[in-house]
Symmetry: C2
Subunit: 264 residues, 2 copies
Amino acid sequence: MPRHITSFSNDTVKFLRSLRDKKARRQAGLFLAEGLRIMAEARDAGILPAVVACAEGELHPLAAEIVEQAEAAGAEAISVPDEILAKMSGKDNPPLLLGAYRQPRLGLADLDRSASDLWIVAEKLRDPGNIGTILRTGDAVGAGGLILVDDSADPFSVEAVRASMGAIFTQKIVHVPWTEFLAWLRAGPGQLVGTSLQTDHDYLAPTYDKPCFLMVGNEQAGLPEDYEAECDLLVKIPMHGRADSLNAAVATAIMAFQIRASWR
Amino acid sequence: MPRHITSFSNDTVKFLRSLRDKKARRQAGLFLAEGLRIMAEARDAGILPAVVACAEGELHPLAAEIVEQAEAAGAEAISVPDEILAKMSGKDNPPLLLGAYRQPRLGLADLDRSASDLWIVAEKLRDPGNIGTILRTGDAVGAGGLILVDDSADPFSVEAVRASMGAIFTQKIVHVPWTEFLAWLRAGPGQLVGTSLQTDHDYLAPTYDKPCFLMVGNEQAGLPEDYEAECDLLVKIPMHGRADSLNAAVATAIMAFQIRASWR
């Protein structure tokens, strides 16, 4: 049974709230996910929270089930008033359920590149919402995972987790320096594909190689020239308006689905 | 020359800040756009702000040019300290320039459907960031504009304008009830295309008709059944992961670029 807590100054309440902060997340090795739908998806993937907070009063049966399973697996569980849940989630409409999950800490050695034909590589993304949306797209397109290179917004931030719609639990995530990624990539098969304005090669033309590593650049700057130079293939998504760019998550999705389309 | 203002309680300062609120925007018929890049794009499209605020001290030459042109066209111009610009924009890093622009208020009668082969129609979108991203995608793919049906987040909100990256100035925007849109659509040529999980028709198969009206549903609920029933064609984007959905702006982009690809 979850302990019933009504005080904002309770240690578990304060701890869960602290996970909205990147440094606290890193120290604890945990991250927040919220809402019945996403937490049920995590559970279905065999993942339970280490700490769970639920609404007070009678719980939705599915929420009660997740809380019970988490407790059986050793999680601390509390029930709290809506105001506290709202404060933890940062939303006016509080979720029924909120959990702190262990951050999987994977390295490149943990990736089996033959597990998928498509991997997404993102360089210096700054917007956590874009990272979450790319994870969601990665799941939908059957990507093996997301490799973040160089500085990056935190994929385990509340915004990224929310935008991922559960894909934070299903996509493998690795964060490494570019040189380390490149050394790993070249130690096995894989075509590195980037989008660029500096090429006439249309993105609809190629049949992409398998496994394909789709490279996405920073939102403002795009890919640095020396990163482009390392790509096996640069392609261009033609632009028909005034703009010369797309949102980073949108460009990733157009490319990822086209890569898959080229294999059909 | 912009008047130099240092007080948060100045009327023009308060007025510009008020435009972060939807009701104030509607009453004034204005919206905020910020940053040199977007305001220069607007200017290049012949659009100048009705009120403009710039940083104090020596201005970037392009910023100075825009302020001067706006003043010559009758705009009120003020220069303010960074703290005030930051407060107006809601960003820690204030823009150099911020402007209040007139909301174009267009109806369906103002749209020339033959002006483009592709139009985007969005039903009950709730996230202004999605609306802005769809506008940006619309510009990139050469869409004629965005038709918002039924309730909708405000396309002129700060978040939508920011995500549009200038497309708020180049894409035509109309907001009407569904029945009104449908009557207008059926009074002329146009294929209404929706994405659905209820069909086996793959999105890569068709050569879409021109003009094509791409229909996007609400983020949570997708398209209502009776709206799907009005579509001339329902297609499915195949999903390869656990998820059965994509972010609304991402799905719109995949479809919009595929519609264009089908014409090549």
